[in-house]
């Protein structure tokens, strides 16, 4: 079927064979691209453009960026289409689609199957559009929310749960402003599941809430679609479409770039973390959070209790340690049980005692694992810090570019290589940073060396370029060609590393010392 092909072509860099699980078909058939002629034209144009560009790399995925207007158009188009099919007005169809989380096919199927049930579940009893909703004139009744008797204006949906208009409005205010709910706000009646339709909302929602309400409706549309995500950059209003599914995330790191220039992972919406798969990123960040602050200090100043492994700080000169947690008494020097020491308090002469040997062994192992972590963490943190500094460098670069223009008589265009170098540095550092998290979880096999070589090459290229960047401005003009070469080289090394890593990730050639979850 048509739509399936569409999706596969969208995810062409991901193994088509992965699409073997039936549960995906729903989403596949739901692709927005295929129903919209306008977008289809665009897609055709894109393919043309792509033919001229170098072939897509293994670490790249197809994606599209949408503006809020595009998204609104998509929504309207889908509503219009389904509206014709179901022979229901636009309003009702919109509610049904929101209720069905924008899964057109499933909704249509269910609707054809049992129209009454679907309407009922979506909070649209059959007679909802016979008479338009209205606010009823003041009368005396006890509103079950404010407990006032009135007379007050009131409102009730078809279910008949009547409340005073003040309470109704306050309820909507709480839902929309407080809870960010819009598409599926239910009747305030106790236990009532009827969804408040858009017409009623328009009648009740106060003007200061209307914008927020429509914004939320738009949000739910994107949130409901597996293949759409908001760009996580602050204040960015664009959404990105990408066909990579959750279950593919151990084989691909779907990295997209929004029109606002922010690069992020479509899988987890964190900033670009290639080549590290999402699950390892999650694990690594958690680990860093747990360990990093104390890890350095711990390795220098503390040992673990040989019995309960809680961390013990040595203060003062006495070697007789008592674990604060389990009260185990042991010797700081040899880690042996203190009772074996007899009265030789000040001089540990029990270095060969069995209990001490075992404990030292265990300690050494745990130290070793800490040291291993620190090895990778320090490099990761170093690049992270450098990348942060690079943000300043960007501003420095601009200054340098202006200075250089003045000193060398070069034009603005001619000094662009500095900006390119700076951008390349940032991007490569970002990649390098995550190679260390990746490497930390990498189990040794005959492929590991290739990875480490690639990593080393990129690292060297980055350091070389970085060094050059620090040269005084008056030398920069003379270094232009060399700097451009080094920039190109950096970019190439990055592509090589990412390409190779992504290919092997897809083919499951890497072995990890943890389970990819």
């Amino acid at each position: 079927m048509d739509s399936e092909d569409e999706v596969n072509s969208v995810v062409s860099s991901v193994d088509v064979g992965m699409d073997d699980d039936d549960s995906s078909v729903d989403f596949g058939a739901d692709s927005d691209v295929e129903i919209d002629d306008h977008y289809q034209d665009d897609a055709a144009f894109e393919t043309q453009e792509k033919d001229l560009m170098p072939k897509k790399k293994a670490f790249e995925v197809d994606y599209r960026v949408y503006s809020p207007e595009d998204i609104q158009k998509q929504q309207d188009k889908q509503v219009a289409e389904v509206s014709t099919l179901l022979e229901q007005p636009h309003e009702i169809t919109a509610i049904l689609l929101r209720f069905g989380r924008w899964n057109k096919e499933r909704l249509i199927e269910k609707y054809m199957d049992n129209q009454e049930e679907v309407l009922d579940k979506a909070g649209l009893g059959q007679d909802v559009y016979k008479s338009p909703p209205r606010i009823d004139p003041p009368r005396i009744f006890t509103c079950d929310i404010c407990c006032e008797d009135g007379p007050h204006e009131s409102f009730a949906l078809k279910c008949g749960h009547r409340f005073c208009v003040t309470c109704y409005r306050q309820y909507l205010f709480q839902k929309i402003r407080g809870e960010g709910e819009a598409a599926r706000i239910k009747c305030p009646g106790d236990g009532c599941n009827r969804v408040i339709d858009t017409k009623s909302l328009d009648l009740l929602v106060t003007s200061d809430l209307t914008d927020r309400y429509h914004e939320l409706l738009m949000r739910t549309y994107v949130d409901d679609k597996e293949n759409l995500k908001w760009c996580p950059a602050p204040n960015c209003v664009y959404a990105v479409e990408c066909g990579v599914k959750k279950r593919d995330l151990n084989k691909v790191v779907p990295t997209v770039q929004c029109d606002c220039h922010h690069s992020f992972c479509f899988g987890c919406t964190l900033a670009d973390h290639q080549p590290c798969p999402c699950s390892l990123v999650r694990r690594w960040l958690k680990k860093c959070e747990d360990d990093s602050e104390t890890a350095n200090w711990i390795s220098a100043n503390t040992k673990e209790c040989p019995r309960c492994h809680s961390t013990i700080e040595k203060n003062g000169g006495c070697n007789h340690m008592t674990c604060r947690k389990c009260r185990h008494e042991f010797c700081w020097m040899c880690m042996g049980v203190w009772s074996e020491h007899g009265t030789s308090w000040y001089n540990c002469n029990r270095y060969e005692e069995k209990s001490g040997l075992d404990a030292r062994d265990a300690q050494a192992r745990s130290r070793q694992s800490l040291e291993r972590y620190l090895h990778y963490y320090n490099r990761y943190a170093n690049h992270e810090q450098s990348a942060r500094l690079d943000k300043d460098i960007y501003h420095k670069t601009e200054k340098k570019m202006t200075l250089l223009q003045g000193a060398s008589g070069m034009s603005w265009i001619e000094v662009q290589y500095l900006e390119e170098a700076s951008r390349s540095l940032q991007q490569c550092r970002q990649t390098l940073k995550w190679t260390y998290a990746f490497a930390y979880y990498l189990a040794r096999n005959n492929m590991t060396e290739i990875f480490e070589d690639n990593q080393k090459d990129l690292e060297m290229a980055v350091e070389n370029l970085s060094e050059m960047f620090e040269k005084p401005t008056d030398q920069l003009a003379a270094l232009k060609v060399e700097m451009m070469d080094k920039t190109t080289y950096c970019n190439r090394r990055r592509v090589i590393l990412l390409d190779d890593t992504a290919k092997r990730l897809k083919d499951e050639q890497w072995e990890f010392n943890v389970e990819l979850s």
Binding site: T166, Q174, D190
Partner: protein
């Protein structure tokens, strides 16, 4: 204030007709903070215990649900085993709470959950596991805690 009238009415109602096993007081005329003394339901392992429960009404009440915490330590899969003793169940969730719901309904729900814990909705996974797989052990600890803390 509109909420005041509603809360006063609820307070009046629970005083003339308190939910089974419950005694309700408010501190220093502060109608947004309720103290409940609840007897463990007779058909539950908490029978014989007396539990103090604090109910806090948010300023948006009744449009936002009240929060509820056990001041008396209780061994129960739906109550956090910490100094908050928070219980979050069904109607107490923002998305399920409806403004006509009353605190008396909440207290009835609490009693129902004491009688029939809901391990699939647990906040304490360990206790829920034990409830499902080692009912004897669960009952014993729960009763021990009643003796220890809820007398």
């Amino acid at each position: 204030m509109a909420a005041n009238k509603r809360i006063m009415k609820e307070l009046g109602d629970v005083n003339t007709n308190p939910p089974p096993g419950c005694k309700i007081t408010t501190k220093d005329e502060d109608i947004y903070n309720w103290d409940v003394s609840m007897d463990g339901p007779d058909d539950s392992i908490y029978k014989g215990g007396k539990f103090t429960i604090a109910i806090v009404l948010p300023k948006e009440y009744p449009f936002k649900p009240p929060t509820l915490s056990f001041r008396t330590k209780i061994y129960h899969p739906n109550v956090t085993n910490d100094d908050r003793g928070a219980m979050c169940l069904g109607m107490l969730r923002a998305e399920e709470w409806k403004p006509p719901n009353k605190i008396a309904d909440v207290l009835k729900l609490v009693r129902a959950v004491l009688s029939a814990p809901q391990p699939d909705d647990a906040v304490e996974a360990g206790i829920a596991d034990q409830f499902k797989n080692d009912r004897k052990g669960f009952d014993k600890t729960a009763q021990d805690w009643v003796k220890k803390y809820a007398k």
